[in-house]
Each structure stands twice: as structure tokens, then as C-alpha cells.
């Protein structure tokens, strides 16, 4: 188990943009796992609230871990039956982040939405 840390992304972003931000974070530097992504509210000064997506990553100190790390992600909006169906279809050969069937509540353009995150390793 390596060091865990969090990154924050704007909750106004689209799902693809949030996915891309998390992907770049995973690919940058040392091998790391995407552990979770959750919508949060940042209480700023003067009562201003900011919707953010909080992504948690875990580093692996062994550079050879890059050979097995998930480095290709799909974020699927499962708030609709179609989305749930898409997630089920995309889940073949992928790992569901957070465990089997796990969902995360993520801001998508300012709307909190249940999302499944599927990842796989590609070379």
C-alpha cells in the first residue's frame, strides 16, 4: 500500500472531462490506482459553495507495478436504465472501481449523478 492522496476537479465539468482528468492523474509519474471519485461541496469564504469532484489515488512505489495498473477508464452515467445497461455491457473485461457494482455520486455539469467507473490495463 502506497501513499493515498486526493485531487479535486470542477463539478461543472462533463463526465468525459472528469474521466480525462482522472486518467491523466493516473498516467502521470509513478504508478497509481484510482480508488474513488465523489462529488463534494467546498465551502469557500463568504458562504460561497463550490461543487467539486474529489478523486482519491493510491501510489505504488514499485515502478514495475505499471505493468498491471489500470490505465484506461470509462465513466458511465448509470442514472438511467440505458446507462446501467451500457455499464453492464462495458464491464466485460474491466474492473469496477470501488468493487463489484460500486457506484459513485459524481457532479456532472453541476448535477450529482450515480456513475460507475470501469478500468482496464492496456499496453
Amino acid at each position: 500500500m502506497g501513499e493515498q492522496y486526493k485531487s479535486y476537479y470542477p463539478g461543472s465539468a462533463t463526465l468525459d472531462e472528469t474521466c480525462r482528468a482522472c486518467l491523466v492523474e493516473v498516467l502521470d509519474g509513478e504508478p497509481k490506482k484510482l480508488m474513488s471519485v465523489e462529488g463534494v461541496i467546498h465551502d469557500q469564504e463568504e458562504g460561497v459553495e463550490q461543487k467539486l469532484n474529489e478523486a482519491t489515488f493510491e501510489k505504488d512505489d514499485d515502478p514495475m507495478a505499471i505493468l498491471t495498473m489500470l490505465n484506461d477508464f470509462v465513466f458511465v452515467d448509470v442514472s438511467t436504465p440505458q446507462g446501467a445497461s451500457d455499464a453492464a455491457a462495458a464491464s466485460k473485461g474491466s474492473t469496477n472501481i470501488g468493487g463489484p457494482g460500486a457506484q459513485f455520486s459524481i457532479w456532472i455539469e453541476g448535477v450529482l449523478t450515480p456513475v460507475q467507473i470501469l478500468g482496464k490495463h492496456t499496453e
Binding site: G29, G39, V40, H42, I66, L112, E123
Partner: protein, 366 residues
Amino acid sequence: MRGLLLSMLISVVAFTTGCPQGPSKTFPGVTNSKSLVANMNSYLKAAQEKYAEALEDDPTDAQELAKQIRNDAIDDALAVIDDNYTDYIRNIESRRSRADFILDVIELGAGAATGITKGERPNQILGIALTAFRGGRKSTELNFYKQQTTPILINKMDDNRATVLGDILVKRDSPVRDYSIKAAIRDMVSYYNGGTLVRAFSELSKVTAAQALASQARVRHLSGPLTVSTIPSIPVARVFQLIDKQKISLARQRANAISASPPAPAGADPGTVTAAQALRTEKLEPVRLKLDTIWKNIQSSGKFDAAITSLRTDAGRNTILDNIDNAPASVTEQNYLTLLFALQSALNKDADLNRELLAILMTANP
């Protein structure tokens, strides 16, 4: 004047002792709740027929006779339902309740359907009946009274009834074109069913589910300074993907070289051990040369000086950097990979520097 007083007296007696034309819970000779359902259906059927006749005579109901019939039916039915409910609650509280009230849900629904359909809106009323039937069957399997949930259930039943009653009282003033007697009967069925354990359980279940969803939707609040990362563009993400492929490629070459040169078995003679080590060195040499070249190009570029300096804050990486300068033969491929990955982190996602790094990687590892 006497006639008026007599009429008022009769009316008062009728209202305070129960409507003689309405259903009576204490139907002579029968005390179980089936008589209530039968009487209710019979009464509502008669009221509906009167209502239909009134509308036939006055289709616009200008005299509001049909409305009066409808409202009378509502008042009478509510009075009887309330009376029954009061007895029922008393029984529950004294733990003497019987299950037959639960079954009333079925019977009232089904009874209402047979009593009022005449080809119109049967499905809706039957739907109520079927839902209640399923609930009724399920409820009989529950041991309600051994659980300490009675007050909660009573509160929920009161709540259900109050909700429906509120709707009825609002609609009661509506003309018959907006609120027919069929709709009123449907509301009375709902009012009756609202005071049952079946509905109390189902409504509690809905509330619990809604609260669970609300809890899920409750978002964590954070305070204090936070760094919000920008969303990388698609081209920048592509650069990171290509660098990742380079990193994987180099790590894979090292892994393949190690796989192709297994260590000597334990207890092997020194010659075998030396040969195995020599084979591994030989297998690793190509990737080692690549990594050495990559690092030299990074150092000579001058663009990565700040990042390299920042690597020295970590003791382990500082040692590797010193070894590269002073004892390059001691630097392993794993050391190079560690340094390379850390260097990319130190670039803080600078797009230009990552492109530069990609160019160096692709030149040495085409």
C-alpha cells in the same frame, strides 16, 4: 316553525347517532368487519345510483343536487371509517387487535369494484384491490404485534389518513364535473386503506427508501483551502497516454529480460551462479542502455533542471542521482525507472515539458 324544529331535531339525531341510510359498523346480528364492507358497498352503490339519476335530470348539476349526494356519501363513509378506525386503534393499543381489519383492505377494494363499476373505471378500482390484496397476503405473514413498532405504525396510519382526508376536503367543494362520485369513492377507499397496517408498512417502506436516497445524495462539505486541478485538454491527455505507453514498454522490456534470465537455483555452484548473473546482465543491457540514454538526454536538455533538483529532496532519489554521476555501474534499471517516473511527477503536468519528455523517450525507445 314546529315543522322546522322537528326537522332540525331529526337531523341532529341522525348525525349524532349515525346515518340510518349509511353503512353501520354495528349492523344487526353481525359484528365482524365484513358487515362494514358489505354495508359500505351497498351504501355507496345506492348513493351512486342516486347521483346518476340526479345528473340525468340535471346534466350540468345547476342545482348542485348531485354534488350534495356525493358530499353526503363522503361524509357518511368518512364517519363510519373513522369510527371503525378508532376501534381498531384502541384494539391495537390494547394488543387485542385482530387480523380481519387487514383483510378489509381486500374486501373493501373488491367490494367497491363490484359495487360501482358498471363498465366504467373498473381497472382503477380493481388495481387498488389487487395491490391491497398482495399487501394483505404479505401482512398476514408478519408478526406485527410482537414488535415494538405499534406507535410508529399508528402514527403512519394517522399520517396516511390525514393526507387523503386533506385531499378529500379540498375536492369536496369542487363541482361534479371536476370531482365525480367515482373519484370520491376512490378517495374513500384510499382513506380506508390509509388506516391499515398494510398501507402503513408500505408507506413507511417508501419513506425509508426515499430517506436512503436522500442520504446517498447528501454531499460531504469540505472547508479550507483546496487546489482545484484544471481539466487537461484531449491533446494533453494524449501526450500522457503516449508517455504511459513508453513507460510500460521500458518496464516490459526489463520484465522480459528478467524472465529470460532466471537466477541460478539455490545451492548451485558458483560457476552456475556467475553464468546466470552474466546472462541477466546481457539480457538487461539493451533496456539499460535505453534508460541511460534517456536520462542523459533529460539531464542535457536543460529544461528539466528544476524537476531534477526537486528530486533531490527525497533521500532515495538523491542517492540514485549521485550514483548516476559518480558510480553509474551501480545504478540498476529499476533505479532509472524510479527516477524517470518521479521526474514526470515533478513536471506538474506541464504540457510542454511532457511533450519534451515524450520526444526524448520516443527517440531512445522508438
